[in-house]
């Protein structure tokens, strides 16, 4: 009986609330105690919200080059102009060539402040490829000036816009990939655990086999097999499928393991003795008992898929420019010397680490909360 292993319950005056608390309520209470997980969940929600509305959130079209702003460093948001408080604004850059290193140097033009506004008109886009629009979350009042909060790349494209656009591809691959592997895993793992016998034996051996193969070389080989002439969207789904084909085995194992363990539970036995049908046992007893675990497992899988896409695109076997994904963006920083002089190119990397970290924290929190009945 130690502090760590006991379910921690709210104060004693809330006993009635606790007594009638369902599994999900208990889980929520437990999860909320895990501060890092809660914060992480918000961060993830923020990123996914961004992924949904990239066209609107990104200030510019990610593929439009700006010849005058190659490798421009991030601009600062300022509040003081000529010593006086001013609404948030930026200064534009004037560039000159350093006489010694011959590199372009950017300096702020402190003459002219460019106020930042919300809901501004900017580059036209098609939201989700369907609806036309030209409003952006924020931008400069002056349509001719530019704001680069995360700097620009070698073609002078806005890094912030690129990172934001990358969010959509990378995060959705993680999500869709997990759903695909869930479908495969639940189907095969469930079948395996439910029927047992020869079917189980066969599927188990198959899983072991797939798991013994080194993952990344397998991914590489599979992605290399995707036809070259495929369009970006086809490649996108192709890569998602490749990632899921490798990843479903773990989920299948979890599903099967839980299924087997739960089938032996006394309450399942009790239901059977009551005359409950198989369907009822599966959907009323087995499935609810494993969902919470499954959600935790899946949450921990998503970052792995995001990383897989990143890795594949990074080395050129995944998505390719002009598609903008985090992996594609990272491919740009392979040249260390460029990064050394323009470290803001690493902002993609920071995003990846933050998102993956948050997924891991959330997943951990969910896993701890998944079984609120252990003592």
């Amino acid at each position: 009986m130690t502090a760590e292993t006991m379910t921690v319950l709210p104060a004693a005056d809330a006993t009635e609330r606790l007594d009638t608390a369902s599994q999900w309520q208990l889980m929520r209470w437990r999860f909320l105690r895990h501060k890092a997980a809660v914060v992480s969940l918000f961060v993830i929600a923020f990123f996914y919200a961004m992924a949904i509305a990239v066209e609107f959130v990104a200030p510019y079209d990610p593929n439009i080059p700006n010849v005058f702003y190659q490798y421009a460093p991030p601009m600062r948001i300022r509040f003081l102009h000529e010593g006086r408080l001013h609404r948030p604004f930026t200064y534009d850059y004037v560039q000159s060539r350093d006489p010694k290193t011959l590199r372009m140097v950017f300096a702020e033009d402190e003459e002219q402040p460019h106020p930042i506004r919300f809901w501004v008109k900017g580059d036209p886009y098609r939201f989700w490829g369907l609806w036309r629009g030209d409003r952006h979350l924020f931008g400069l009042e002056n349509p001719d000036a530019r704001i680069f909060l995360l700097g620009t790349d070698e073609l002078g494209r806005d890094m912030l816009s690129r990172v934001v656009y990358g969010t959509r591809i990378s995060l959705s691959i993680g999500f869709i990939g997990v759903i695909l592997s869930l479908a495969l895993g639940v189907l095969l793992g469930g079948v395996s655990g439910y029927f047992g016998g020869t079917v189980d034996l066969f599927i188990q051996r198959m899983i072991e086999l797939l798991q013994s193969l080194p993952q990344i070389p397998l991914w590489l080989t599979l992605s290399a097999a995707l036809p070259r002439e495929w369009t970006a969207i086809q490649i996108y789904f192709g890569i998602t499928i490749v990632i899921s084909v490798v990843a479903w085995t773990e989920i299948a194992r979890v599903v099967r393991g839980r299924f087997l363990a739960l089938r032996e539970e006394e309450f399942v036995l009790a239901a059977r003795f009551l005359g409950a049908s198989e369907t009822r046992i599966i959907f009323r007893h087995l499935v609810p008992s494993m969902t919470s675990h499954l959600i935790a497992v899946l949450t921990l899988r998503i970052p792995e898929m995001i990383l897989a896409e990143t890795a594949l695109s990074f080395i050129g076997l995944g998505l390719q420019a002009p598609v903008v994904s985090w992996g594609v963006l990272l491919a740009d920083v392979q040249n260390i010397r460029t990064v050394a002089s323009s470290p803001w190119l690493f902002s993609t990397g920071v995003c990846i680490i933050v998102v993956v970290l948050c997924f891991n924290f959330t997943g951990d929190g969910l896993r701890d909360a998944a079984d609120p009945y252990t003592h």
Binding site: M1, A3, M6, V8, A12
Partner: protein
């Protein structure tokens, strides 16, 4: 060494657990004496604090548990036998050398789960020999000889085969025998047995109980026998302490405890046990209600909400003390307001 002098004396022991939900007063003012060669049974239902008392003696409490108050005086062996050196275990560092000497050397312990009290990856011989090396280090005796001898003592027909067996190769009863061998190899003068037969079948239990009695006669050690089974108490104990919610509610010699119980809890407990002989089996009288939540202990006597002899304004206000300080012959000491 004087037989009237207790080997081990616990005075007003309080062991509390500090966990997130609050403090659990698992042991709350327990005083006990253990005399040489005698068996003291501590009996009570789950959660009454009997195992925590045992763990407090050996200072092997779980992380959240702390001894808050009290003394545990142990008379050490060696030195001048008439005086003996007395040490307060509460004052010792639980990880220190002095305490480790006492564990296994002065006080041995056996546990409930014979399945999991041995590490699965070492042989039985190795694990017992380790204890032998810790407490019986003499140059002229090989630990192996000692262990084989002890294994034979606890009833292994082929000690040398058992020596190289792994725990999973033994049955539950055999494992418990091996556990006893391990606890006794250091020739402790006190053996703490924490529900040693609860996980065993009744015929195996009989084997183990008989074995313990035989070994006690042979080695002359005192036994602290922790159990919830009144039958086992009746078979094994000389002295009995009945615990309820961290307190001793009644204490006395075994015959008096069973035949002249005084505390309403003990009386009720005895009435609620089904008898083996169908002829003696009349209706059971269960104790109403249930053991209260450890976080919301009742004020006053902890048993008062379930007590059939509850006296308003007395039982729910003052905590009854275990009286009298010294048991009168033919009388137990009971912590109950009926007797004050």
């Amino acid at each position: 060494m004087d037989a009237d002098q207790p080997l081990l004396e616990i005075r007003d022991l309080k062991t509390h657990f500090h966990i997130r939900q609050g403090t659990v007063r698992a042991v709350d003012g327990v005083s006990l004496s253990v005399f040489p060669g005698q068996t003291l049974a501590i009996v009570g239902e789950s959660g009454c604090g009997k195992s925590i008392t045992a763990q407090s003696i050996l200072r092997i409490l779980p992380r959240a548990g702390r001894i808050e108050h009290g003394h545990i005086h142990l008379q050490l062996s060696g030195g001048d036998p008439s005086r003996g050196e007395i040490v307060d275990l509460v004052g010792l560092n639980p990880k220190g050398g002095a305490m480790r000497e006492i564990r296994g050397g002065e006080i041995g312990m056996i546990f409930q789960e014979p399945m999991s009290t041995f590490s699965p990856v070492y042989t039985i011989g190795h694990q017992i020999a380790e204890a032998a090396r810790l407490h019986r280090t003499t140059d002229d005796i090989e630990p192996r000889e000692l262990v084989l001898d002890m294994l034979a003592h606890v009833g292994f027909a082929h000690p040398d085969r058992t020596w190289s067996q792994y725990p999973h190769e033994l049955s539950g009863g055999m494992r418990q025998r091996a556990m006893i061998a391990m606890a006794l190899i250091g020739r402790p003068r006190i053996l703490i047995a924490d529900e040693p037969t609860t996980a065993l079948d009744v015929t195996t239990e009989a084997q183990i109980l008989r074995l313990m009695k035989r070994l006690q006669a042979e080695f002359g050690m005192a036994i602290i026998f922790i159990t919830h089974d009144l039958g086992v108490v009746a078979r094994m104990a000389d002295q009995v302490a009945v615990m309820y919610l961290g307190n001793i509610v009644e204490q006395g010699d075994v015959d008096t405890v069973f035949h002249a119980p005084r505390h309403p809890y003990l009386k009720a407990l005895l009435r609620s046990v089904p008898r083996l002989d169908p002829a003696e089996n009349i209706g059971l009288e269960p104790i109403s209600g249930m053991v209260p939540d450890p976080f919301s202990r009742p004020a006053g006597c902890p048993f008062h909400p379930r007590c059939p002899e509850f006296m308003p304004d007395t039982c729910d206000t003052a905590v009854p003390q275990l009286l009298p300080a010294v048991a009168e012959p033919g009388r137990t000491r009971a912590a109950c307001h009926l007797y004050t």
